[in-house]
Amino acid sequence: MQRRYRSIPDLKIHETARALSFSDAALACKLTSMGFLPGARVEMVRQSPFGNAFYVKVDGVRMALRREEAASILLEI
């Protein structure tokens, strides 16, 4: 079955996509206050050594996110 949306963990290394919305309210609160807004350009930089976190750039700002956190950020297809 084809999924109707993508999220950050689906990005390939160095792939960039635009963030649409957040699916988790607590995290949305934290990320928006850090300046991660819907509409931001997210670039996947690399995975953590144990694969459970991502190094991303959000509008040029470097950030580390856990897989669950990253998965709650829905991207434009």
Partner: protein
Amino acid sequence: MSGSQRLPRIGVIGNPNSGKSTVFNHLTGLRQKTGNFPGVTVDIKEGNLRLPGGGEVTLVDFPGTYSLYPTSSDEKLVSAVLSDQKNEFFPDAVVYIADVNHLEKHLLLLTQLLDLQLPLVLALNMADMADELGIKVNVSRLSEKLGIPVVFVSGRTGDNMNRLVSEIEKLIPAIGNISRKAFFDMDATEKQVAEAVRLNLGENNPYRALQLAHHFEWLPFLNESDRATLATIVQTKNFVSLRAQVEETLARYDLFTPIVEDAIQQPQQFPDTPTDRIDAVLTHRIGGPFVFIAVMLVIFQAIFDWSAYPMDWIDNGFAELNTWLQQTLPDHWTTELLTDGILAGLAGILVFVPQITLLFLLITILEEVGYMARVVFLFDRIMRRFGMNGRSVVALIGGSACAVPAIMSSRTIGNWKERLITVLVTPFISCSARIPVYLVLIGMAVPRVRIGGIIGAQTLVFGAMYALGVAAALFAGWTLKRYLKTREPSFLAIELPVYRMPDWKNVGLTVWEKVSAFIIGAGKIILIVSIALWALSRFGPGDAIERAATKAQEEAAAAGLGEAETEDLTAQKKLEASWAGQMGKAFEPVIRPLGYDWKIGIGLLTSFAAREVFTGTLAILYNMGSSEADINDRSENEAKATLREKMQRETFSDTGQPVYTFATALSLLVFYALAMQCMSTLAVVRRETGSWKWALWQFISMTGLAWLAAWLVQIIFA
């Protein structure tokens, strides 16, 4: 302004890592920790600033926070202070520090402060970097749109600090009579909530009233009836806090983004900066952890090898001084107090200054350059296995210098359970106070040989002690994870700051502050314990000491001992009869299974106040056993016999077996690695967890574990 004697309070507030502490340092000259790690300041610090007009204000450096909607306890501190006008740290006015290179992200909190009707000045910090990146700001446009003064500054170079100070001065008349139009328009529900809070709790500022409704569950200053009232308001108005927070945040961005875009000219492209190239190595999936291990090995090498020299000088210097004083000063108890009590205590304090300085220096540099945030990213996964969070690594690394500041740094961990586990296990990491104990014991137990001609056996055992500490911390975390429960969310989400060359002035101030806090904090305890110990071992109940002396002399005469041996025996018996001797003897049954005698018992008892007392204690005890004899009869060389040599000569008084066998030294090492022996740490744990319960629990379980492990070692190696 509230009180008449109280100086106006100016809060230094802003997002994490925006340079608040650097600016604060610059303005107050007060020592205060800074670092290129989001969450370096976890507590509130104060310092005074003289104004050119002759007045004076108190600057208050706050922890960084992105918004008034916090997710960790250092951030909560900011919200709690700003929601409570009676709080002792409540600022009368605010210097808002924003990183000019990320202005589009740094103004959210500023707009919230605008709505709290605080007098404000906006300092656009990191002007030096903006220049390099070609970022241009129209300061007057920004100032006009925000309705507050704006100054372009650099905390690092000190550019424009005078302007900032004069703007601060101009804020003072405005204190208490600001009334701006609200920046953010509350929706109907929010307005109703704010109005209800005003009527019931008398909070007249609508935005602060709204804050109470958002945070009533945890705000510490609310009483139960206020809390109940707020809960009812939230419920009857159907106010959904989390959703309102997100909507407010987005609305604020919508309002200030155009202002920033209008006032700032940024180069279009984000260039491939050195940070990206460095991170390609330091956060590499495979290379990253190896670099981390290499960094830790360098630190380990530094403390083991490099600090051994200054430690030796201090040790020998005190030994020389001691001998000289004993030979020069009259033979009187005051001389003994000076040499065996005070000097021994001072030596105990000073001997670990070299390595704690070195450790704080290396850790501060790692923080300043921005490496710590990467470590959080690298190890988040592993730490979660052990009930902690990537941020816990920062506390654990800090614990290798001193557990006290390390435990405080755990405030950046939002989740209560992960934070508690971090607090509870950090003292397992071998701190610098353990090093002198390790060195003495390893020197006795382990021969100075090189294994395979490369690595010294002593280095190896020393390393094993650190490994033991780390293993114990992880094991404890893994166990605690099973038993503690929480429903709080756990976040990683951390900004990875750009790498910067350390600001050496910041580094110097930080190290100085931490080392002196340590010397004063731990030093007091050590000196008091040393002097008390000297008194306890010099005096005894009734005439017990005199009787012991007479008896020893009779025994010696009967056995036909020489003068020196008689002196030794007498001193030994006197010590046994003293208060300290009695305490040690009473304690001996508890530790005899571990292979320890009553002298070590005294050492252990005294080290429950602070473990660094151990070597000092033994020095005092063993000096008493042979000091007079040393000076009069033995060769110069003997007199300077180090503690280590004296300890090696010790035998059990009943069996005549040597006390410090290989197994005993090893078991003592393990005991010191694992036991909780630091009053300062217990006090901090109590404060950070809010009750004695956890501190007590930590004390009992760590010490119990230490006893068990030491006992096992004795059984295996004896």
